[in-house]
C-alpha cells in the first residue's frame, strides 16, 4: 500500500463551551487528501485556514466528526490506535520552548522512548543516533534554555525522530526562528526526507521553504483549493494573491517582468533558475 496518510471527506469542528449554548465552528469542510510514503508535502494557507487542524487529525489529536482518516494503515478514530499512530507519525510544533519537557537535552530526546517503554540500552543508542542526525550531539548535556531557537527546534526534532517515525508533521517549525535557525531546521528536514525516507508534511508561511517540497497543498477556509508540484502552484501568481498568499520573491520578480512584456519562463521558483533566466535575458550571447 502506497498511500501513507489519507483523509476522506474529513469534517472537523471546534466546539466553544464558553458560550451558552455551545457554539460549533466547522473548520474543515470535507477534505480528501492522500499523501504517499516518502513524499515531502508543504501545506500552505493563511491563518485560520485549517491547516494545523488538518495535521492534528493525522496525528489522532483531533478526531474527525465525519469522514475517515487513516494514518499508516491505522484508523485514527479508534482509541486503541492512538499510541501506534503517534509512534509512527511524529509532530513538531511552532514554539520549541513549549515542547521540551526535560532540563537536559539528552533526557528530553529520551522522553518519547521512555514513554514507549523501550529498554534503557536501546534508548541510549537511539538518543545518541537521533542527536547525531540533527547535529546536536555535542550539546547532549546542555540545558535547553541556553540553546538558540534553531538548536532548540532541532532538539525537538531529535525527540521525534528518536521514535523512528515513518512520518513527521511539522507545524510552522520555523515561525519563531531567525534566518540562521530557519536554514538549520530546513536542512535537517530535507535530510530526513532524502536520506532517511521519512514522509514530511511541512506547514509553513514561508514560500521559499514550500518551494523546496515535492508537492504543495493549499488550504483555504477548510477546503483544499490547490494541490500540485511547486512550479505549477507558484506560476499561478494571481490566484495565490487572491488567496492571501505570497509566491517566492524570485517568482514574483519574474512575474512582474513578464507583465512588462519580457520573455521569461513562468515556472521559476529558485534563485538559481532566476539568475540563469535573467542572465539569458541580459546577455543572450553568453548563454551557450
Amino acid at each position: 500500500m502506497n498511500t501513507f496518510l489519507s483523509a476522506k471527506n474529513l469534517k472537523f469542528s471546534y466546539i466553544n463551551n464558553m458560550e451558552e449554548p455551545p457554539v460549533k465552528t466547522e473548520v474543515l469542510h470535507g477534505i480528501s487528501l492522500d499523501i504517499k510514503k516518502g513524499e515531502f508535502v508543504a501545506v500552505l494557507g493563511h491563518n485560520g485556514s485549517g491547516k494545523s487542524t488538518l495535521a492534528k487529525c493525522f496525528n489522532a489529536i483531533n478526531t474527525a466528526d465525519e469522514g475517515e482518516v487513516f494514518s499508516c494503515g491505522y484508523d485514527a478514530s479508534k482509541e486503541e490506535n492512538l499510541l501506534p499512530i503517534r509512534q509512527r507519525v511524529g509532530m513538531v510544533f511552532q514554539n520549541p520552548d513549549n515542547q521540551i519537557v526535560a532540563t537536559i537535552v539528552e533526557e528530553d530526546v529520551a522522553f518519547a522512548l521512555e514513554n514507549m517503554g523501550v529498554e534503557p540500552e536501546e534508548i541510549r543508542r537511539r538518543v545518541d543516533e537521533a542527536l547525531k542526525t540533527v547535529d546536536m550531539y555535542e550539546y547532549r548535556e546542555h540545558a535547553p534554555h541556553k540553546l538558540s531557537g534553531g538548536q532548540k527546534q532541532r532538539v525537538a526534532i531529535a525527540g521525534i525522530i528518536a521514535m523512528k517515525p515513518e512520518c513527521v508533521l511539522l507545524d510552522e517549525p520555523t515561525a519563531m526562528l531567525d534566518p540562521k535557525g530557519r536554514a538549520e531546521v530546513m536542512k535537517t528536514v530535507k535530510m530526513l526526507n532524502e536520506e532517511m525516507g521519512v514522509t514530511i508534511v511541512l506547514i509553513t508561511h514561508y514560500m521559499d521553504e514550500a518551494a523546496q517540497a515535492e508537492r504543495i497543498v493549499v488550504v483555504d477556509s477548510g477546503n483544499i483549493v490547490m494541490d500540485d508540484v511547486p512550479k505549477k502552484i507558484f506560476s499561478q501568481v494571481e490566484k495565490m494573491k487572491s488567496l492571501g498568499l505570497d509566491v517566492p520573491q524570485v517568482t514574483e520578480l519574474i512575474w512582474g517582468l513578464r507583465q512588462e512584456g519580457y520573455d521569461l519562463p513562468e515556472d521559476i521558483i529558485t534563485e538559481d533558475e532566476c539568475f540563469e533566466a535573467l542572465l539569458g535575458l541580459l546577455k543572450p550571447d553568453v548563454k551557450e
Binding site: V101, I104, E106, E107, A110, F111, E114, G117, I160
Partner: protein
C-alpha cells in the same frame, strides 16, 4: 535581579559527586542536615563545615556559585543574628546601654547559628547543582515507591516537579520581557509605597499567568504527541545503580557524623 535565582539550577559535569547515585545523594543530604543539627560545639560544627567544603571541592562547582546561593538568604541571616545578639542576656556582659545588652553568649550563639545556616544552604544546594532535576525527581519517585500501593500518585508528582523546574528559567525570561514591555508603555514599578508597588505587579502577573496556561496546553499536546500516557510501562534511559563509590560516600559521611559527635565531646557546648 531575577537572574540571581539559583534554585533548581543544575551544572552538568562528571565529578565524583555528579556520578553518585541520586538516591544516595538525597539520603546523604538528609544525613548531612541531621549532622549539622547534631553539632553542639564549634568543634563539631567545624567538622560539619569541613564536610561541606570537601564535597564542594570534589564537585568542581565554581566557588562563587556557593556565594551566589547564599545571596537570597542574606535577610534571614541578618535577622537571626540580630535576634540572637540582642535577646540572649546570659553570660558576660560586653556592652550595656539603657535597654540594650550585648553578652558574650549572644554573640557566640549568633555566630554559631549563622555558620550552621550557611552550611545547610550550601550543602543542600550542592544536591541540586550536581543532580539533574529528572534524576532528582526519579530518585524521589524510587525512594517513595514503597508508598505507591497506598495509591499515592508518586509518578505524577515527580513529573510535575520536573516540569516546574524545567520552566523556571523560561518563565524568568518571560517575566523580564513582560516587565520591559510594561515599562516601555510607561508602567512605574519602582516608586511609591508598598501597596503601590504591589499594585504595579498586577500588569506583570496577569500576562504571565495567561501565557503560562497557553504554554501548559501546548506542552500537554507535545507530550501526548510523544506517547506520554502516565507512569505505567515507562522505562528510564538512566538506570540507577549503586556502585562502590556510593558505598564509599555513605561510609565517609558516617565517619564525619561520628567525627561531629566526638568533636562535640572535646569542645565547650554552645547549645
Amino acid at each position: 535581579m531575577l537572574k540571581d535565582i539559583t534554585i533548581g539550577q543544575f551544572f552538568p559535569g562528571h565529578s565524583i559527586i555528579h556520578r553518585l547515585d541520586p538516591r544516595v545523594k538525597l539520603i546523604l543530604t538528609i544525613a548531612f542536615i541531621v549532622m549539622l543539627f547534631m553539632a553542639g560545639s564549634f568543634y563539631g560544627l567545624a567538622v560539619g563545615m569541613a564536610f561541606v567544603l570537601l564535597s564542594f571541592a570534589l564537585s568542581g562547582i565554581p566557588f562563587r556559585m556557593m556565594l551566589k546561593s547564599l545571596r537570597p538568604i542574606m535577610p534571614i541571616l541578618i535577622f537571626t543574628a540580630v535576634l540572637n545578639i540582642f535577646f540572649i542576656k546570659t553570660g558576660d556582659v560586653w556592652f550595656h546601654w539603657r535597654f540594650i545588652t550585648i553578652t558574650q553568649n549572644g554573640v557566640v550563639s549568633a555566630v554559631f547559628i549563622i555558620i550552621r545556616i550557611v552550611g545547610l544552604i550550601v550543602g543542600s544546594s550542592l544536591l541540586t547543582y550536581t543532580t539533574s532535576p529528572i534524576q532528582l525527581t526519579d530518585a524521589i519517585e524510587r525512594l517513595f515507591a514503597p508508598i505507591k500501593p497506598l495509591r499515592r500518585p508518586v509518578h505524577d508528582l515527580a513529573m510535575m516537579m520536573t516540569i516546574a523546574l524545567r520552566f523556571i528559567p523560561t518563565l524568568i525570561e518571560e517575566t523580564d520581557k513582560i516587565m520591559a514591555a510594561q515599562k516601555a508603555r510607561g508602567a512605574d514599578m519602582e516608586s511609591g509605597n508598598l501597596v503601590k508597588k504591589a499594585r504595579a505587579l498586577v500588569p506583570i502577573f496577569v500576562p504571565l499567568i495567561v501565557s503560562s496556561f497557553k504554554r501548559a496546553m501546548e506542552l500537554a499536546l507535545a507530550m501526548e504527541c510523544r506517547c506520554y500516557h502516565g507512569g505505567e510501562g515507562r522505562t528510564r534511559m538512566k538506570q540507577m545503580k549503586t556502585s562502590l563509590r556510593d558505598y564509599a560516600s555513605l561510609a565517609l559521611t558516617a565517619v564525619f557524623i561520628a567525627g561531629v559527635v566526638f568533636a562535640d565531646k572535646l569542645g565547650p557546648k554552645v547549645f
